[in-house]
Symmetry: C2
Subunit: 144 residues, 2 copies
């Protein structure tokens, strides 16, 4: 469904969100530990999230990654997915035709479109805040 990089990115963003609630910045080391991911690879993904404006970074001593608390409810999962995997999952044909076009549809177009739109809506409606609260409350987990 999502690439490994995207899975790590989503989990990292959620963890950063939980910490930003308490005004804490976190670095790649703490993030990788918390989401059970390779640290250096995770750092690369964080760079991409910064470049796309999903999270903010502060260099130097006492630096780290954070998300403006006021934005937590506005940043949706879709922004994270888009930043890492692009928009292919939203727009691409399920069978890999060059374009998904209702005028030249693949055999599963109609059925696939429904699923894809549901996924799109879910990602666009789910905020980092909501997911972070699930983790903070102990109802959800970022690692097994």
């Amino acid at each position: 469904m999502f690439s490994k990089a995207c899975e790590y990115g989503i989990k990292a963003a959620i963890f950063i969100a939980t910490q930003s609630y308490e005004g804490k910045r976190v670095g790649p080391k703490a993030i990788a530990k918390e989401i059970d991911s390779p640290q250096a690879f995770t750092a690369k993904i964080l760079q991409a999230l910064v470049k796309e404006g999903v999270v903010t970074s502060v260099k130097g001593a006492y630096g780290g990654f954070e998300i403006d608390r006021g934005l937590l409810s506005q940043i949706k999962l879709a922004a994270v997915v888009n930043a890492i995997d692009g928009d292919h999952i939203y727009k691409g044909c399920g069978l890999g035709l060059h374009t998904c076009d209702a005028n030249q549809p693949c055999p599963v177009h109609n059925k696939f479109e429904v699923i894809r739109n549901d996924l799109k809506n879910m990602l666009e409606q789910t905020s980092l805040e909501e997911l972070a609260l699930g983790v903070k409350s102990g109802a959800a987990f970022l690692r097994v």
Copy 2:
């Protein structure tokens, strides 16, 4: 969503179905041309589909791949996907946790489960026959 191999496998199975309707066997060359895929790679995928019992192969002169016409309505897309990509898309966690477990759910578990089940139902309810008819009628296409 699906691997390239799976995309090719689905399209190949649909094309074989359209030809089996007319009692014709087809080989990797014709299939690859029809679905716009690399021929040798497609041949490998066909081997997997044969091994999993999704399609039948006949070796030697006048051989090729076919699907029993009586089974066309019974063979579902899920069988093809399962044969090539396995069951991870049905059972795996959307964020890559080792297991998808409602007792130790990832932050998106509840929302993801809905999408995943819709996809599962779609794949389990859609027959090769139905998709092949779409192609034969000219309503759907296997290549752009």
